[in-house]
């Protein structure tokens, strides 16, 4: 197993673990943490997919000239994407935390099962 | 007076209220009139013959004497061959056989039925009870003389009279009719006040119009 596949496999495993936590734990804070884990896993997958074995970071400097760049650097696109993904994940997490805070303030509970007044 | 015959106030669907006077509103109040015979005597004679040969008896047994009417329908007496038959409705009958004693309660029904028959109409009193009360002469609740209440054409005496006597009585009635003397309905109309007074004297709970059309 190469480093790349290992990274991707680990990423997927994190996603699954995160989802398992998010779907079975009743506490909403722990659900949020679990989603963070899953997001991390996704980010890892993103990076892993852009990885080309044995290449270097996509920064042009003395070590990597423009002419050699195509042969020396890894795929820069996933790296750019992962940044966006991280930030978005962060935003959603923050929002969920704020929700959790408000839910706790108004309902004095963090159990997801208590917020079922809307149903059917 | 019975509750359903008392005056009452009703509300129409459109909301207005008004009074109902059942005796007035439900029943015709006209008095009976004396009916003249046909202008030509020969026509009237023909009619009288027809009337006499077509006696339709109201199927209303008022007392025990009614038992003597049934044999008339049997093969033994077979009154049909004399033009006599029984009708279930007073409208179509013209002969009322008061069969035996007549209680006051029944009298009321008899009067109503008699008045609902169409003239000319005839009354036959059957048995002694209709003549003088018979064995019920001192009963507080039967009438004694039928003729006080209805215009009787023929009395058939006996207690009971046998069917043969009835047949004989009918033959007598036919003779009377043919002779143009079967004018009971007209007598009733002429002496209406008198009959009514007699009737009302015995019938205490009079709750019908004076004449039942």
């Amino acid at each position: 197993m190469t480093l790349v596949t290992l990274a991707i496999a680990t990423g997927f495993a994190l996603v699954l673990i995160g989802l398992l936590g998010a779907l079975t734990d009743r506490n909403i804070l722990r659900m949020i943490v679990a989603f963070t884990i899953a997001n991390t896993g996704v980010n890892l997958v993103l990076i892993g997919v852009g990885m080309l074995p044995g290449r270097t970071a996509p920064i042009l400097d003395e070590a990597v000239s423009v002419a050699q760049a195509a042969a020396r650097i890894v795929d820069p696109v996933p790296q750019a994407l992962v940044l966006t993904a991280i930030v978005i994940g962060l935003g959603v997490t923050a929002l969920m935390l704020a929700y959790a805070l408000r839910l706790h303030q108004t309902r004095h509970s963090l159990d997801i099962r208590t917020f079922t007044e809307l149903k059917w | 007076m019975r509750e359903e015959l008392r005056k009452r106030t009703v509300t129409a669907p459109d909301g207005q209220t008004f009074e109902i006077e059942p005796l007035k509103d439900y029943f015709c109040e006209a008095q009976p009139q004396v009916q003249r015979p046909a202008y030509a005597k020969i026509v009237e004679d023909l009619f009288n013959w027809a009337r006499s040969e077509s006696l339709w008896i109201l199927g209303f047994g008022t007392g025990c004497g009614a038992i003597e009417m049934r044999p008339l329908m049997t093969p033994r007496y077979d009154a049909y061959r004399f033009g006599i038959q029984w009708r279930p409705t007073p409208r179509q009958s013209n002969l009322f056989v008061i069969s035996g004693y007549l209680s006051v309660k029944t009298l009321k029904r008899v009067i109503r039925s008699y008045e609902q028959m169409q003239g000319p109409k005839y009354v036959v009193g059957l048995g002694s009870c209709t003549i003088n009360g018979g064995m019920y002469w001192d009963s507080y609740n039967t009438i004694k003389q039928l003729a006080d209440y209805l215009p009787v054409d023929v009395y058939i005496a006996g207690c009971m009279p046998r069917p043969e006597a009835l047949l004989a009585g009918f033959e007598e009635l036919k003779r009377i009719i043919r002779a143009g003397k079967g004018e009971g309905a007209n007598r009733y109309a002429e002496n209406f006040e008198w009959y009514k007074a007699n009737q009302k004297r015995v019938i205490q709970d009079w709750d019908m119009p004076d004449y039942n059309w």
Binding site: - | E53, S54, T89, G119
Partner: protein, 301 residues
Amino acid sequence: MPFEWVQIPYALLTLFIVVNYGLVLTALIQKIGARVGRRHGIRIYQNYVDLLKNYALRTHITHGVMFYLGPVFRLTGGVGLLLFVPTIFGSEMFSNLSFAGDLILALYFVFFGSLGMALGAGESGHPYSAIGVTRGLSQVTAAELPLALAVFAVSLQYETLSITEIVAAQQGGVTNWTLFTNPLAVAAAMLSFLGSMMRPPFDVVLAPQEIPIGPPTEYHSAYLALMQTNRVIFPVAKVVIYMNLFFGGATGWGEFAVKVFCIYMVSVLVGVVFPRFRVEQSIRWFLVWAVPIGVLSIVIA
């Protein structure tokens, strides 16, 4: 068939003959019924006397316009029915007013009188009248069905709806009668005939003693006389239709008298030996026994 004025007196003549024939016939049939009970029964002219008496009554009441018109409707129905059907085959004189319509007219005109009568009886306000009418209407729905089927079968058989032509097709011997050429239809029709003659076991409509006498309970005097007149015309008119459709019609008054009598007697014979059916019983009876025969007749035709 063009109309000529002379047809009016001819039609009246037919009417006259039929009325007298009917009066005598009904008395005769009553007499026969009495003889079954070992009585003498009424005199043969009794119907004339009763009729005369009723016309001669001196007092009358009326419950209203429809009550007044009911008997008129009734008798119009009877007279009309008689006159819309040719009585004597081959006779211009006694083909009456059949130029106005064919078999269908006759069949539907049957209801004209009943309808008017029902309305008149209804206006009398007597509950028994209405009960009688409901019984009559209920029974007629099932009783008419076999006849309708039979008529349909017969008109299919002769491919015409004209009564005259149907009669014509049956001429030339007894075997040409529908009775023999289409026995199923005739059987169905005759069962239906029983139901329409107001005789036991199908006389629950009048049901004397139970609902006094049903629709005519309030009728009397001339009203009743009109209805009595109808009662002698109407059955004869009806029997004439049966005679024309199924029994070869009549070529002369003699044949007419005999055939009508015989056909009429069918219902009498049944009537004197059977007790009365309730409405639902008679409906079931017709549906179970008569209708299948009728259906069979049109399926085969």
